[in-house]
Amino acid sequence: MSRFARLAMLFCTLAALARPALAQPDEPANGPPPHVPRIHALINARIIVAPGEVIEKGTIVIRDGVIDYVGAGGDMPPEARLWDLSGKTVHAGFIDLSVPVKAPAALPDSPGLHWNSHVRAQFNATDAAPLDKGTIDALHKIGFTAVQIVPDRGIFRGAAATIALGEAGTDPIVHQPIGPQVIQFETAGWNSDEYPGSLIGAVALVRQTLIDAEWYRHCVEMYRLNPMHIEAPAPADALFALRFVVRQRQQPVLFNTESELDLFRAARLSEEFDLNLMVRGSGDEYLRLGDVLETNLPIILPINFPKAPKIEAIEDADSIDLRTMMQWEQAPTNPRRLIQGGATVALTTDLLRSRDKFLENLRQAIKEGLTEDQALAALTTTPARMLLLDKLMGRIEQGAIAHLAVIEGTGELFGEDRTVTELWVNGDRIEMKAEAAVDPLGTWAVDLGGAMASKVNVLITGKKESPEVQLQIGEDKTKAKAVSWRVERLSFVLPGHLFARSGWEQYSAIIEGGSMRGVTRTASGEEINWTATRQAPETDGQADNQPEAAEPEAAAGQQAAEPPAGEANEADQTKQEPEKDEYEKAPEAYPTPLGAFGLLEPQPRPAAVLVRDATVWTSAEAGILENTDVLVRDGQIAQIGRNLAAPADAVVIDAAGKHLTAGLIDCHSHTGIDRGSINEGTQAITAEVRIQDAINPDDIDWYWQLAGGLTTVNQLHGSANPIGGQNSVVKIRWGQGAERFRFEGAKPGIKFALGENVKQANWGDNYTSRYPQSRMGVESLIRSAFLAARDYIDAWDRYNSGAATKARAYPPRRDLELEALAEILKGERLVHCHSYRQDEILMLIRVADGFGFRIGTFQHVLEGYKVASEIAAHGAGASCFSDWWAYKFEVYDAIPHDGAIMHNAGVVVSFNSDSDELARRMNTEAAKAVRYGGLDPAEALKFVTINPAIQLAIDDRVGSIEVGKDADFVIWSGSPLDTFTRCEQTWIDGRPMFTLETDAQLREVAHSERQRLIQKVLRKNLKNPEKTKDKGDKDAQEGKEPAPEGEPGDDDPPRRSILAEIMRQRDMRGYDPNTSRPGECGCGWHAIEGDQR
């Protein structure tokens, strides 16, 4: 593994140091110092040296924590203590590469602290709170002997560390003190005051910090080499700690991903900054398996499979979408698909709600085709290799650290009955299951030597460690008090009247296998000896043992789905057909995106397509052409004309009576932005954030918009701040990945915003302190931002040109925010500015004039008609709503004639949606320019075709039906401006992305898949009725990071985020809350304002 081999020696040497024999001197002993020899021989064991390498009966010699010998030989060192492991199996202790440890909420204040509390790269996991007993016990129970602990807080969370998993309460042996730097796109949501409040902000902060780290490293190095004539760099703890991350991949980075989309985000960062990257997966990797495998990233993989959804009631089933059911079905195939696809995978218990689920889930993964050897490798050799500790861990071989797990039996490694009996951690034995541990639970018949007529029983129930005791005389039961169970000795107190005596009587008993020997001391002090014998079969240690609940007829009646084994009558034969071991494997193929309307394969691109005899709205000089053919070749429009010859390999579409237009383009959308990451609203200027970092290609809205003829979309940042984030232009390439959605070569842009939203006018009374609070301040803020950008350009120009001074000056710091603003000044980035009132439109025009650049588009621009000539003179485009108005004060003067007036004044005008829903019918929006502005229909259609293409500077590729352009077109049942018209086919790049026929098929598939999965879930849930009831449905929420065992969870009290509040309000009003609506622009604060009172 060359990628690991490239790790710096630093990490290897640290690892080599981690030997307890070399520990610092102990405190002087109080009394004779212990000298217990640490030489052990494990004999007669079945030894799994490594996956696929087995010694059926062999010996392991451990000397001072290190494996000294492994083999079948019998030459025992006479000084070794012998451990006979006959009938048991030994395998290398498991390694979990992602065990969260609690980091402090805030790092101690110091001059070198980063301004942002999420950047805490200097933190070391070894300084976090030690693992609690619950976590360690749970890990031991599975067979883990070493773990990589990862800090649980921050974006740059600090360095992970690998420790031996010794017994709780002992100081852990550290194998690797400075492991990978842990990064996660952590956000606090819209209502947090701290940056970043969004995914896009988190990505930007990661990028900026890595840039800063490299810059800081460079500056420190400069100063170290020659401190003359320059100031010493100020302390920067986090940046300093990152020096090995940014320097030649010396320190690896562990990215915690929350979805497969996050994995791609991490991979892109890795390419940009040449990181030595591994990821903690999400469990969703199978959703885009090919793309994940292509990244070749090592994955620390959780097996947090979703719970079966609750679908027993019809309405519950209706509420569960196919995607959720498919996730339930396919998630267990994830480990197998990744590993058999060639990925480097280490399994982790991370993200499981309870680590007790680990083996159960692993068994399911094995049922889905993961082999035992692959599972073992993913728990031993692979994680060891990922740590670069493969000489020391993961295999049972001479010279390695003695991390071993011993399990009962010599059969399956991960079977239902897997029991770890002991662990060897660093050569020290940890006993897991006390041999012949006494189990008091059960019903014990007391022999009082014939003193009592009725039967006397002692009923012991509850937990083995803290049982409950009842005394049963005949049918009467009395609960014993002061029950205590200390090793093999049970004591309790009962009132004497049960036996016609007085006062309290003390009972004490010891258990010897199936018999109990006891004594009762009466109030008078008399001691009565008794014995008891175990009646009910011994319990298996399950929590809820109910000795008295043995009513077979009731059980059979209630639980038809699980008749008593062995005596099923014939009528029940069919019902119990799916036996426990008849595991129903998930189907091999599944659609992308997962769920309804996903595709098994991306839509194919025919070599040629000929659309015959359509009314073609060219959106070009040719205007509207009747009875015209359009020929597409290799995804581009090759020919337009009458009676074109069909190439032999062409798909021919008869479009007689139909209309054909260019694919519609929406110049203002917030569709398909992952995790609601539309706004980074925590700062007034966030030019560094990029919507492209949050594209969600799986949003069903995409498909629904394709069905309305939409093909290209300008995904914009919201309007929470005057200078928002960078836009993303995409084609709706449904079924493909986020990167494939991006409109390659589209000119970069950025969102600006003016007016009520940015001055927080409708956010409520608590939002009165962020600058700006007035349109006056908006102007000043933007002006000052551009002044800073101009200085930034100058600084770089001076630095790049002044060779003489360069040696003695630190280079300017690359600043992503100023860089984006500088690109605007240089004309390399288009400003798309949310605006309403004429004064603010004119203001921005004048600011831009002053700084010598041109605004790309004014968005919404509902008073644009009042300054149409000024907009035209400046040369900006205008992208407005067709007819929206009066939803807030600044749009009270909006009129539907806006677009036409601006068009007539010479402005390039488009109509946009700003709405997931409106984006489904942009064609009829265009008709409103005919109605209210008197525009010619062909001209009106351009508002949603070529004009937005011009505004986005993609008009050389899309927006019209002209030879040489991309084959993005729509076939309509009638005129596109007619409200009775339907979209019949939508093509992108010469691929049929939506057709009525395919849609009908996909519906059919969705329906039958739903029914198949509902049945499968029912079979599963009804087989195990108790299990679905146990913890309620909170368990079903996969993907949420659970608090580690034994910890209370979040410190912070739960706050309902403003976004969540908006969603809830919308939901209550019967809107689809996920749907962004025109004018809200990700800023529907006014909606709350109105509704909360």
Partner: protein
């Protein structure tokens, strides 16, 4: 042709003349309400779309004192004593005014400006409030909606569990009293969401959601119980003191006014219909986006549905993309009575006809699409005997258009409410003129 009246008015010219008098941009409507009809008006040579019957090419309509007195085909001959106004509407189309069955127009001016909103009262149970008393006759939103033929609306209080009474409003007049057709047109109940939801923005547990739903159901139930007891007591002893809230329940509980139950999915609808039957009130379902399985139930109990908007997203991820578009046709095929409302913000109520058009594009017969925003709406709202179609005896609330009003490109040229001509100008047209003037655009 020989017309005793002899004055052929060009309605749009009149409208333009009225409009040009508007020289300033006002924050509120400054359009002057139409005078009560002075003399009979005949609209001739138009294509008449009565809705209740097949279109009449080259037909005429005569109305007098605000009531339609004649509808026919071919040449129009008037033999009455008085002078009449004759409008030659050759090439134009006459329709009944459009009816919006669910809006907040008049109650809300600017969504984000709290001071301009009178849509909801505090408290969960407020049957005593009536929308009509708070409708702003000078709302600038009214002339904008009117200009697209929306001449009658049901304006509806929002919020709470029992929101109050919705009111039927005519879209022209000087005062709320002139605007009001029926102030207690129906009692509005927002049915609790009985199916718990899980989504990241929902923090309440399923149990908590069900508890809240239960609590709201109890509020409805106890209101009806208390009201029943109260009304009986008052009947027995009229001297008992009046409880305004319970007294207000009389129209709904007696079946005189229907109960408009806002409910979206089948679980809610099933529970609402069962409840309504128990109380023997007349339910009308408003919303019904996910009514799916409850269609049979609605049909069995003849419960009408006001579909709130076809310009919606499908209700679930697995639903067909056109699910909201095909809902009207599915109801029609099942034989459930329905009409279509827009569900839009009040400022955008003018787009009501395009919601109907979407249903037509996806299968609803075109005449049914028109009926869904005229006669069907009137029938469900209880004013089918006077509004919603062009028939002798009905009120003359009419519009003259350049084409099918379901098409965006059709314009409304003239309109009458109860026979009074409506000023179709509005704030937006005035601003349009003002700024075209700035650029010298025609």
């Amino acid at each position: 042709m020989n017309f005793p009246g002899r004055r052929i008015a060009c309605a749009w010219a009149a409208a333009m003349a009225a409009g040009s008098a508007v020289s300033m941009v006002a924050a509120q409507s400054i359009q002057i309400p139409g005078e009560p009809q002075q003399k009979p008006v005949a609209i001739i040579n138009a294509t008449i779309h009565p809705v209740s019957s097949a279109p009449i090419e080259n037909g005429f309509v005569l109305f007098k004192d605000g009531v339609i007195t004649g509808v026919g085909a071919g040449a129009f001959v008037y033999s009455g004593p008085e002078q009449i106004e004759v409008i030659d509407a050759k090439g134009q189309h006459l329709y009944p005014g459009l009816i919006s069955a669910d809006t907040t127009i008049g109650l809300s001016e600017i969504g984000a400006v709290r001071a301009t909103n009178d849509v909801r009262e505090t408290g969960q149970v407020t049957p005593e409030v009536r929308a009509a008393v708070a409708v702003n006759p000078d709302s600038a939103l009214i002339p904008v909606a009117r200009a697209n033929g929306i001449l009658t609306v049901m304006t509806v209080p929002q919020g709470g569990v029992v929101s109050g009474y919705c009111s039927i409003i005519r879209m022209d007049g000087w005062t709320t009293e002139e605007l009001t057709i029926n102030d207690r047109a129906g009692l509005v109940i927002r049915w609790p969401n009985v199916r718990p939801r899980t989504a990241w923005w929902i923090q309440e547990s399923e149990e908590e959601q069900l508890r809240q739903a239960r609590e709201r159901l109890d509020q409805i139930e106890s209101l009806f119980r208390d009201a029943a007891a109260y009304l009986q007591a008052r009947k027995a002893d009229a001297d008992l003191p009046v409880d305004l809230r319970l007294e207000s329940m009389a129209p709904a509980m007696s079946g005189f006014a229907p109960v408009y139950i806002h409910a979206s999915d089948s679980a809610e609808i099933e529970s609402a219909v069962a409840w309504a039957n128990r109380w023997r009130v007349k339910p009308i379902i408003v919303g019904g986006a996910e009514l799916g399985r409850s269609i049979d139930l609605l049909k069995a109990h003849d419960v009408p549905v006001i579909i709130v908007g076809t310009h919606r997203m499908p209700s679930r991820r697995d639903a067909a993309y056109d699910e909201p578009f095909t809902l009207p046709e599915r109801l029609r095929q099942a034989g459930v009575r329905f009409c279509i409302a827009s569900g839009e913000e009040p400022a955008h109520e003018r787009n009501l006809p395009y919601h109907a058009a979407k249903a037509v594009a996806y299968g609803l017969p075109a005449d049914e699409g028109l009926r869904a925003i005229t006669l069907s709406a009137a029938e469900i709202m209880g004013v089918g005997d006077t509004l919603g179609s062009i028939e002798v005896g009905k009120v003359a609330t009419l519009m003259l258009t350049t084409g099918n009003p379901l098409e965006i490109t059709s314009d409304v040229i003239a309109a009458w409410v109860d026979g009074s001509p409506v000023d179709l100008d509005n704030k937006q047209k005035a601003l349009d003129r003002k700024y075209r003037h700035r650029y010298g655009q025609p």
